[in-house]
Symmetry: C2
Subunit: 484 residues, 2 copies
Amino acid sequence: MFRAASSTAAAAARDPSFARWNEDDKRFFEELLSPGAVLTALDDTAPFTTDWLNKYKAQSAHQMVLRPKTTAQVSAILRHCHARRLPVVPQGGNTGLVGGSVPVHDEIVLSLGAMNQVVSFDEVSGILVAEAGCVLEALDNHVARHGYMMPLDLGAKGTCQLGGNVASNAGGLRLLRYGSLHGTVLGVEAVLADGTVVDCLSTMRKDNTGYDLKQLFIGSEGTLGVVTKVSILTPPRAASVNVALLGCEDFAAVQRAFVAAKRDLGEVLSAVEFMDREALDMVLRQQPQSRDPLEAPCPYYVLLETAGSNAAHDMDKLEAYLERAMDDGLVVDGTVAQDAQQARKLFLLREDITLALSARGFVYKYDISLPIAHYYEIVEQTRARLAPLGADVVAFGHLGDCNLHLNVSTPAYDARVFQALEPFVFEWTANVRGSISAEHGIGLHKPAFLHLSKSASAIELMRRMKQLLDPRGILNPYKVLPAP
Amino acid sequence: MFRAASSTAAAAARDPSFARWNEDDKRFFEELLSPGAVLTALDDTAPFTTDWLNKYKAQSAHQMVLRPKTTAQVSAILRHCHARRLPVVPQGGNTGLVGGSVPVHDEIVLSLGAMNQVVSFDEVSGILVAEAGCVLEALDNHVARHGYMMPLDLGAKGTCQLGGNVASNAGGLRLLRYGSLHGTVLGVEAVLADGTVVDCLSTMRKDNTGYDLKQLFIGSEGTLGVVTKVSILTPPRAASVNVALLGCEDFAAVQRAFVAAKRDLGEVLSAVEFMDREALDMVLRQQPQSRDPLEAPCPYYVLLETAGSNAAHDMDKLEAYLERAMDDGLVVDGTVAQDAQQARKLFLLREDITLALSARGFVYKYDISLPIAHYYEIVEQTRARLAPLGADVVAFGHLGDCNLHLNVSTPAYDARVFQALEPFVFEWTANVRGSISAEHGIGLHKPAFLHLSKSASAIELMRRMKQLLDPRGILNPYKVLPAP
């Protein structure tokens, strides 16, 4: 049973028209790939067939993982699977939160992790070309040596891979400043379901030559093609990074502090993160060595980051902003990190919420976008709704992008809590015209709710796109689109 | 004859399978639309059936222009045209440079100019929703009242329309700082060829709910659907804008000055424009009231703009940069505008190149992206190639995006010059892996050269997309895709 996905359980019945891989298929792949690149022993496949939260797990003991090293191998694998009608799950770092990267039944896992080479980096333009399996943090370190940084940063950076980032249109902490991957990705090489390699690996920032096909693959969660290489624009690495933590008395003050930060910090503002007291408490409870970051506890916290080219100017702006925010009563208390270590510490309070939550027990995770006026309202309503069930409701997220991570924690899975949350959270979000999936995607968790954020004509067009690009439906089946 | 498009003349023969509009069609449209919204007299249709450079002109005297006011009207028009197999050209401000927005034969012009209302603007998030026919400059003025600015700025801003900007993925001066429309456009409402309205008008910055369909319409030049509404993220308007003009002795110094500007000006850098002496001379000849901006003439000029939230910090950074650039010998002379009027004057030298060129005679325009190392090489080679023919070769462009506008001027059209330029310019560009169309698009001018910038598998996929979305081929025929 998919514990957190009962609503999609019906959609997740095995499609009987798919073939199952057999010994002939295995031999074909073994001849095609390097030694050790075909895994079928359950001990070997286990890390690839469940997600890191142990929430989604393949429902079959008939598992195979393929680890190609080249685009040609990916193409040959898919050509074979297409002909045989063998279903395939493309997988990067397997750090997703909606079950998008693990098999539902006996789909073959196509792991891109062995394609992990940097193809090129241009020091003048800052354009990086890399294989899909490169780990985000490794790429960030690579371009750092030339004075650049990756335009995205996630909690999962040490494990997640560039191809998976692109396939899931990962958001994260730097989106506020550098925009989404739809803008920063300049080119994609992808393999279609039938093995056709589509080379749109432009390294030009401007390239209006026909339809921008790479966009199809960004955010399609591996259902339209397998991303094998990516070209991406990296911004100059900031010479100076400052972090401030502010405490606010009410959510109206949080909003005003945000608008004031856009005005006063302008071009150096690089992150505007939010957490409520409940989220901070979750981290402090799990990390006995951490202590309350401000003198007195506050109900709401805003974490601001600036990144700029001149340390004196940046600190000047940040201090002027803080002074004004205190004078105007937006902020009751605040602290500015005095060095990189303090800055890291403050940021870890925010980044460690996810780990603290999963260490504590079961987590019901919701990743939504909301008009700012409704951003915290849903948290209060959810808390009131769950009070009788003894669940902890914590809220944090990328306030600057109106992106809220609403998380509910119980010591163990509780069906009553789940039923109180779904479809309540999705319908509430749809009612205020928010998005039921801000950055995590749809995966296996939310196809049944897609209609709450997308019109019928849009979903119909998505189906036609899927039919066009993957007519036999072998790529990441049961995911993203609702069952017909 | 298409003077500048002889290579596409073959592709531009009328498709005999299309119907021609008749009196019944006209009556249908007159009943559907407001009085005066159906134009057929040649005096009335003339402004819509040729481009502003008078380079592309409809080849038939059988012309009709429709001016709908609502999405429902656009939908009804297309449903009718689809059923009747009447070809249609969607048209915004008609400021394009590749013949994309005028009829080739007797296609019906679907002008969006009467759909020019702002739908909403959110002062906290800076998100604007507007109809396709809104003029870019009017929108910039609208959001300016709330402290924001449009993320794009073009020479044509007083005439071009938002829907056309999106359909052509317009680039322009601010792309360096704010990125392309693929990142800043948050939502699109579009009408498909058969009249289906696709509502992807999200106003959320993060919305990973299924395939990002709006991307299909961005840059597809009206061949996949008609954009009717757009939701776009506008950045805060800078409190301080500074402009500097630098003169360089050689192109190596230009490159080094650019890299140094990225390093020293970092987050406040908002435009890095380039022009050569020949381009500046073209403007000075046409504007007798203008004078040489620097003491001594230089072969290469770089125009830098900074935009920031703190005037003192910005000027501090700019002056430190200039001093360093002079000391390091990157720049032989330079000037910093001391007020907004001076800044405007400096910028106009760059913006007026296009007007000066067209005032002088016939212009062969090429808009290409190149690896920076090759950016000026093509100018020198083109100049050498055309020397015997007495054509003037001028070069300017968005250096910060590696986007070059290579323009050739003759008093009147000269077939020998044209033949010396095409396919030479496109093939040279393709050889260094540049893009044959950086921001102007393909339109009617370049379908025959698309294969130089896109792989065969990519063009095949584009064809399949076109077939899927517009199976009868009525939307902007003869454009973008090469003849089969």
